[in-house]
Structures are given as C-alpha cells and as structure tokens.
C-alpha cells in the first residue's frame, strides 16, 4: 500500500470519528486526540476502523505512535509496508 493510499484512508477514518473537523486545517505535528477532540471511545473506534481498512492489528502498546497525524502516517506505513512489498 502506498503512502498516499494510507493517508487517504487515515483521513477518511478521522472524518468518520470527527465528522465536523476541517481536515485541511488539521495540524500534522499536534496531538491528534486534542486536534480532533475525541475521547477514548472515539480513539478506539479509529483504531478498530484503521485495523479493518488496512488489514492490520494495532496493539495497545503502539497507541503512543498514533499521537500525531505525522507519526501515525509513519507508523501505519511501517506496519503495512512489508506486506505491500511481498
């Protein structure tokens, strides 16, 4: 899966948990949960949805890597990458 594809999926799922957020104004280096104003259930919904869309399981100990939009992209590319090359 390419990075633009991952980015697209991430933004779509962010749009689902925080539908009124203007994605264009999202600051990519800020705490994502602050930016989106989502609680633990909203975040869990995001993790579940991303796992389903990307075909991976995100462990709870990896949650810190989903802190910002930037770090999330890097992390998701990393865990989907090897399979994409396979």
């Amino acid at each position: 899966m390419t990075e633009p594809e991952i980015r697209q999926i991430l933004l779509e799922e962010i749009g689902n948990v925080a539908p009124e957020i203007d994605l264009a104004r999202l600051r990519s280096d800020r705490d994502l949960r602050e930016e989106l104003d989502i609680d633990s259930i909203g975040f869990l919904n995001l993790v579940i949805a991303l796992g389903r869309r990307l075909g991976v399981e995100i462990a709870e100990r990896d949650y810190p890597r989903l802190r910002t939009l930037e770090s999330s992209l890097a992390f998701l590319a990393e865990i989907t990458g090897p399979r994409a090359r396979a």
Binding site: D39, S40, I41, L44, N45, I48, G51, E57
Partner: protein, 393 residues
Amino acid sequence: MGVFRMPSLGADMEAGTLVEWLKQPGDTVRSGDIIAVIETQKGAIEVEVFESGTLERHLVEVGATVPVGTGLAVIRSDGTPAGAHNDLPPVAPVAVAPPSAPATPPPLERTALAGSFGPKASPAARRLAQERGIDLDTLTGSGPEGAIVFVDVEQAWLRRGASVVTGPAKSSGVDGMRAAIAAAMARAKREIPHYYLGHSVDVSDSLDWMGRWNDSHPPADRLVFSALLAKAVALALDGFAEFNGQYRDGQFHAAAQVHLGIAIALRGGGLVAPAIHDAARLSLPQLMTALRDLTNRVRAGRFRGSELADSTVTLTSLGERGVDWVQPVIYPPQVAIIGAGAIQRRPWLVGDSIVPREICQLTLAADHRVSDGHRGGLLLREIEARLQAPEAL
C-alpha cells in the same frame, strides 16, 4: 388490542414529532421492537412498542408534532379481529335508535371535544408552548378575550428558570437540546438539595489489569477505563439503595436494578445521559460493547426512548484529557450522580515510599432529601474497593 401512544421520554417532555415509522401497517410487532423515531428536544429517539401483535394502522403522519399520550398507531393483539378498535375517538359508532325514542346527543362526546381544545390560546402561543414544553393549563392569558398569547408562554418559560433564548425560536437541534438541558439543570438546582463528596482513588491496578486484557485482545474487544468505572459503580450501588432510583411526587422510589445513565458529550455541543440497562448484570465485555454502542448511536443522533427516561443514577466521566475533578449536577428525577476526573500520574505514598501512581478523583453529588453524607462516603469507598480488584469486575 392497543393504541401505541406518544411516550414521555423524560420529565420535561410535553410533545414529540414523529420523524419516521419503522413499522408499517400489516407488520408484526413484538414487545420491545423499535417502531418509530421521535424527535424531541433531546434529539431523535427510537421508541419501542410494549405490545405484541400486528400494526393495524398509523394514526399520525410523519412530521406531525403531537402531545405526549396521543395515539400514534393501533396495534392489534394476536387473536383480535381486524378493525376492532372502537376505543378510538375519531370513529364513534352510531347507535341505531328505535324510531320512537328521540335521538339523544351523547353529552360525553361534547365534553371530551371541548376538553381536547384546552384553554383558549393563540396559535403562536400554542406553537411556543409545544416547543418549550409549557403546559397551557397552568397559564393565565393576557390576550383578547383572556386568551393565552405568545408573551404569556414566554414569561412562563422565563419564570421556569430556563435560559433566555434570544432571536427566533428554533424547535430542534442544539438549541432545543440547550433548552432541555437548561430546564433540567435549573430544576435540579432549584429543587434538589445537593451535597458533594470527593475521594482520590489509586486506579493503577485497574489500568494494569486493563492493559494486560487489551494486549491479548483485538481492538474490537478492548476495554476503556470508563467501562471499568461503570461496572464498579453499578456493582457498588448494590448495597446503597438510597442512591439508585427516582424522586417523584414528593418521595423517593428505589429501583431494583441499576440503569446507569452515561453522560455523553455531543460533538458540536450539548450532552445527553442515556442509560445502560441493568448495568450490574452485564459482564465487563458486554458492558464495554453497550458503552461503545450507546456512544456511537448518541453521536449519530439515535437512541431509544427508554434509554433516556429511566436512568436511575448517572455517571459522568471527564475522560483522559479532562481536568482533575468535577462537581456534577444531579439529573432529575434521579438522586445521585458520580463524577470521575481525568486520571493523572501523581506521587503517592504506598507504605512508607513515595511512588508514581495513577490517581482518579471520584466525586459524588447526591440528594440530601434521600441520603446523607456518611452513606455517600461509604459508597465512594465501595467504588474504590471495586476498582482496586479489577479481576472481580
């Protein structure tokens, strides 16, 4: 044979708007089925039918706003012949009188008709009263011929202590919800003598236990702390009947089960506190599923009437990114609300050593007409004990 009526979805509800029929004439319905969607000040609510049979016909069109108690549909019980619905006012059967007897007009019908119009009130007053949930029978009119007019309803609304709504009145959406919250919270602060208690609870063990659970489960089966908290509260209330129930008609009615109201903030403003029914009986995974389902449905604007009306106690949790503690306001007619602040990592004395621990500040607001502070303190201690034995949740 039965009539499905506009339900009361909360103490302040006077009327609702039928948004959607989910069952059509001819459909079979079972008690508990969701039959319609009703728009109230609290949002769109799915309502259940409590009768089994066949939906014979709708009495109200989609889009109509009708008072609580108005017949919405006729449900024919299993085994009742079709068309046997003569308890309905619009189709009064005409008795064939013998020719010798003069036809006597049925006086009751006339009375019922006059009564159904209620007091003399202008269309503007009626519309506003319906929007704001004001009972016209309680007002004195200042208009032509003593009619109740717009300003009379507006004054009553202001007297009731609700917030002043400026600009054109809106009937639904956030403004409607704001009006509902205003009415409920003003009533709480006016009628309920609150007392408040607070307690700092070390929830490190709960979090550790939850972390281990989550490590071994896929995301869809993982827990959040609110679920542990909800379960702990529901279990703790078992021995504290005076905190679980409703205060109606001047006395407290204890509830047999814990219908735990969960305060859920809506994206874009406002909040509602629908219930998880019989929360103490649910396993932790079941409770978690219920919590997620409820949160998602509330945020999508759909929850059931019974979830809104029959909470017996409420839990409000500020979440991980919130502040330290909350002094909550009881949601009438309930008599208690439990608050949880954001969990903070704090230096803590364990034995003689200072160690970092995860601390959550629990608070309780309760109704002094029903309970006293000593028992409230015991309740918070009991919740603490439950949280510190997470494996038993």
